[in-house]
Amino acid sequence: MKSVLALMLTITLFSTGMAALEDAPSADLGQNAALRYWTAFALMSVPSSEQDKIIGQWKTAPMDDKAAEIIQQNRHALDYLQLAAEVKPCDWGIVQAGPDTPLPHLGKARQITRLACLRARYRFSRGDDVDGVRNLCAVLTLASQCDSGDSRTLISLLVKCAIQNAVVEAVSARLPRLDAKALKMLISQMDASPQHPDFAGALRVERKDFLGGFLRLVRGGDLAATQRLLDEMRDEKQIPRDWIPAGNATPEMAQQFSRQLEELDASYEHLIDAAGLPPSEFEGRTAMETKKLAETRNPFGTWCAPAVVGARYTSAKAETLMLMLRAAAAIVLEGPESLKNFKDPYGSRPLEYHAMQSGFELKSELLDKGRPVTLTVGGQSTK
């Protein structure tokens, strides 16, 4: 009997111990990239107005002592950015509060991107290609982690696109002269984490958290929320004045907004279904939905449409530019014939290739403000 009891006790203790071991990694709260990003953000220094101008013009600013000083002042912040990119799990700890959901990391991410691009350009100008590309790879990781998990919104998608576009601009000028090791590092980063913006996913979250948040408040007769909507609406120029109710928020107005938001919610469902269409076709669908809402003088369609359509164009452009950068890296490494491996995501033909004196140009069929999306590689000196 004693031996049976001892055996059972051993089995129990062993299985409990194994479970504790299996649980150990998830209990490591330090393994969260967001914690390192926040350290990096906190270490960014306040720029003087002159420095702010240089940071804003990071694409063209001269790589002189003033640029070096900014980089020096922000070196710890940028080093932490690098450390953050080494950690995969990223939870920003966003507290969902409907329209008041705080997203303080997005502005910080935009700012540190500009600093990192400035440092990458500075390093390229000193012939330090590997470290320059390493900086930009960290920025690409930041881009995808800004728009992941709980933190995904239409805004985070646009920030992700803006960050990606900055990286494309920072590296494309240097690309033809890039050190082979740095070039391979860039290619492996792009291949390891493809950066397609998830526009449909962003619309879905937008519908659930933002629109859904307001709808719950207004449906519950929340007059403060109704008044906020009213105030915001009155500030918008594109909404016809006679569609906006006069006076302060009332329970009847809350009911009216609730009905109008429900109509917008139905339109969002159609837009989510159409999210995969090319931007021009998506724009057509949005116009149809806006027209339908306008027939009942619903102001919310007119209000949301430009932002949604603009986001679709932005995400398509960012997707195209990232593919172009990947294609350009392949061209530099293997020659122009490698272009056949890359299909224009918004065109029926391969990307157009034009050789230039100091590089080349790639062109897509995708139009942005009426002009084809184009990537110039090596056309501009980084010095």
Binding site: V4, L9, E22, P99, D150, A307
Partner: protein, 131 residues
């Protein structure tokens, strides 16, 4: 009073009869003699059964912890955040979307403006230098 009522009356009059005192004493004496023997005979089985049940419970618990499908994290909601009226520069979804409704450039300008809040003073990052 009819026949049925008489019968009911006699039923109500019936009371449980106390057992004979002599018989009760004999039963008690018998039980006192038998109980320790029963306990001695069944104790090891009872302990084994209890240990087995405990092991089974722990094993089931461990299995649930390690193999059960991951639960969806509960959405974080903030009643405090939703109750506070925030000015437009605050980095909230609402402020950002309002800027986006104006133009993508307005959104970008707002984000950069938001980023400037709570930055370290110039040279502030030198606090790390001695490390």
């Amino acid at each position: 009073m009819n026949g049925l009522e008489k019968f009911e009356e006699s039923l109500r009059a019936l009371k449980p009869r106390r057992p004979d005192s002599d018989a009760a004493e004999r039963i008690e004496a018998h039980l006192r003699k038998e109980r320790p023997a029963i306990q001695r005979r069944h104790m090891p089985h009872a302990w084994a059964a209890a240990a087995l049940a405990a092991c089974a419970l722990i094993a089931v618990g461990v299995w649930f912890v390690t193999h059960a499908p991951p639960r969806q994290p509960a959405p974080r909601t903030g009643s405090v955040a939703s109750a506070l009226p925030l000015p437009r520069l605050e980095p909230t979804l609402m402020a950002d979307l309002m800027a986006l409704a104006r133009s993508p450039e307005a959104l970008d300008a707002l984000l950069l403006e938001q980023a400037k809040t709570s930055l370290m003073p110039t040279h502030g990052s030198d606090i790390l230098s001695p490390i």
